[in-house]
C-alpha cells in the first residue's frame, strides 16, 4: 500500500501542514508548504534574485504544486 498524506490544518505561521503516513499509519514525515512561496533565480553573477511570489489559494493547490514537482 502506498503512503497516504493527511491534511493537518493551516497554522498561524502561514503553513499548510500535512502528515505522511506509512501503511501501518506511522508518521514518517511532517510536510509544511508555505501559503506564500518565493521563487529565486541566480543572476549573471550567481546572486539570487527574487523573481516571483506565489500565493496558493488553498491547501489542495499547494499540495498539487508540491507533488507535481516530485
Amino acid at each position: 500500500m502506498a503512503n497516504t498524506i493527511t491534511y493537518n490544518g493551516y497554522d498561524k505561521a502561514g503553513f499548510y501542514r500535512f502528515t505522511v503516513l506509512d501503511d501501518e499509519e506511522n508518521i514518517i514525515q511532517v510536510l509544511k508548504i508555505a501559503k506564500v512561496k518565493q521563487i529565486h533565480e541566480p543572476d549573471a553573477n550567481g546572486v539570487p534574485v527574487l523573481v516571483n511570489t506565489i500565493t496558493y489559494a488553498n491547501k489542495d493547490e499547494a499540495l498539487a504544486a508540491y507533488l507535481s514537482a516530485q
Binding site: 505561521a13 502561514g14 503553513f15 508518521i27 514518517i28 514525515q29 511532517v30 510536510l31 509544511k32 508548504i33 508555505a34 506564500v36 512561496k37 518565493q38 521563487i39 529565486h40 541566480p42 550567481g46 546572486v47 539570487p48 527574487l50 506565489i54 499547494a62 508540491y66 514537482a69 516530485q70
Partner: protein, 237 residues
Amino acid sequence: MGKGKVIERFRESIIRAGMKIALGSDATGDVYYRNSAGLLTRLGIGSSGQVLGVSGGLPAWQAPPSSGASYTIVTKSANETLASGTTTLQDDDHLSFAVSANSWYEGMLGLRLKKSAVDASTNGLRLLLLLPSIELFNGTNWSINRGMLYTDTSSNYEASVGISDTSDVGRSGLLAHSSSTWTENANGYPNHNVQIPFFFKTGGTGGTCKLQWSILYGYAANWTILQNSFIKYYKVA
C-alpha cells in the same frame, strides 16, 4: 583428645564446610569489618548501584561519584520537510527544550539532512535558536555560534546557528551546501550530517528554546531535517 587436636579438627571443619558468621540479622550480601573496639561488625548490603566508600572512618555504601556533566537529548521523532520556496523561519516540530531565566546552557545541534533536488550553490538553510530572553552580548540580543565543519563526498562547509530572542532571518545562522542532491543510502543514512555547538545565557525570562529553520532562497529543492536529528544540551549554571 588433646586441646591441640580439637583446634586442628575445628580448623579442618572450617576449610571443608566454610565458616558461618551470625552476628544477628545477617543477610545475603552483607559485609563485615572491624569496628573501633576491634569487634567484627556487620554492614548490611547496600542498594543496587551503590559503591563502597568511607564515611567517618568506617566503610559505608554510597552513591557513585558523578561522571561529569549530564546532557539531555531531545530527538526528532519524524522527518520534517519544508517545500521549496519556504523562506520564512518556522518552528521545528520536535526540537525544543525548556530553559530557565538567567542561566547558561551549552550543547550541540546534530542534524541529518536531505534535499530533493539540485539547487543553486548559493542556497542553504537558515538556523536559529529562538530563546524567551537572552543576556545581551555587547549590547545586542543575538549572536552567531559557528559550527563544526561537515563533509560531503567532495568538500567541507561551514555551518552556524543564530541565537536570539527575536525570530529574524537576519540573525539566523547559515548552513551552506553543495549543489548536489542530498540523499540517503538504502539504510536511511544520509550523506550530510551536521554538528553545530552552541552556548548562551538566557535573560530574565525562562520558557522554551526552539529551533527555527527555513530555506535560504526559493530554488527547486524541498529540504528535510530527518528523524533522529537531535539537540543535546546541558545547563552549565
